[in-house]
């Protein structure tokens, strides 16, 4: 693997995760928020696969596979929800959907 240590992969994953979190907290466009969530998931996947290689057991890859399956489902359902949200409120701004407050 040359002189890349496993730690470096973790750092990359953590960085991507951080970017995703910031995106979720900051952006107001619903769809972009969703994409940032996908970023977070991918970062987690990277971490998993890296660990899997480091340990030598392919269980981590299977875990990552399952994460992908769940992410796919989640995207499908989430986008369906977004579509119905837009149909009802005609806006992609998440701040317009904050009625459940005190």
């Amino acid at each position: 693997m040359g002189d890349i240590s496993p730690f470096q992969f973790q750092v990359v994953a953590a960085l991507i995760f951080m970017v995703g979190v910031v995106g979720v907290l900051t952006r107001r466009n619903v769809i972009v928020m969703f994409m940032c969530i996908e970023l977070m998931l991918n970062a987690a996947n990277l971490s998993l696969v890296a660990f899997s290689r480091e340990v030598g057991d392919d269980q981590g890859q299977i875990f990552a596979f399952m994460v992908m399956v769940v992410a796919a489902v989640e995207v499908a359902v989430g986008l369906a929800i977004i579509i119905s949200l837009v149909r009802n409120r005609d806006t992609l701004n998440i701040e317009d959907a904050s009625q459940m407050k005190w």
């Binding site: 990359v12 392919d58 359902v77």
Partner: protein, 166 residues
């Protein structure tokens, strides 16, 4: 060689992710940046000798999920809905970044203690065949459950996004 690949792919993934978040103008831009990230990650997977996962990453993530995103963006943009992608309170942004950074720091501190070098793995590690065998023997239940989950997701998506016919 590998080292170089690692650095290139990592930088690409990071640049892509920042592009997803920081792109204010157009969600399509964000989506395309997401694709770049996905592909870079796929490369990283292959670098980690996880061929199957890398393959699936391209097929499912870059090939289906992001496409779905694009479709939805285009579908909804045609309705002329306004998007205000401008950053909200910078305070929130800073606070959030700080929180994540601090926790990442702690986590990485744990991880960084005395890394052993990469162990040797036999050539069948991470191949489609090996993963497939594991999936259909040890993890059959998970596969079945995943199937049910996918079914549920399809039904949910259809029902939720359906246009009312009245």
């Amino acid at each position: 060689m590998r080292t170089a690949l690692f650095w290139i792919l990592s930088v690409a993934a990071l640049a892509g992710s920042i592009g997803v978040v920081g792109n204010v103008r157009n969600p399509i831009n964000s989506a395309l940046n997401l694709v770049v990230t996905m592909l870079a990650l796929a490369g990283l997977y292959v670098l980690l000798e996880a061929q199957f996962v890398g393959l699936i990453q391209v097929m499912v993530y870059a090939g289906a999920i992001v496409v779905l995103f694009l479709f939805v963006i285009m579908l909804l943009n045609l309705r002329g809905s306004g998007t205000a992608g401008a950053e909200v309170q910078p305070l929130v942004k800073i606070a959030g970044t700080a929180v994540v950074a601090i926790s990442a720091f702690f986590l990485l501190r744990v991880l960084s203690t005395g890394r052993a070098p990469w162990p040797d793995v036999d050539p069948s590690y991470g191949t489609t065949r090996a993963i497939g065998e594991a999936l259909y023997t040890d993890y059959v239940l998970a596969v079945q459950v995943a199937g049910v989950l996918l079914l549920a997701g399809i039904l949910a998506a259809v029902v939720l996004a359906k246009k009312r016919l009245d």
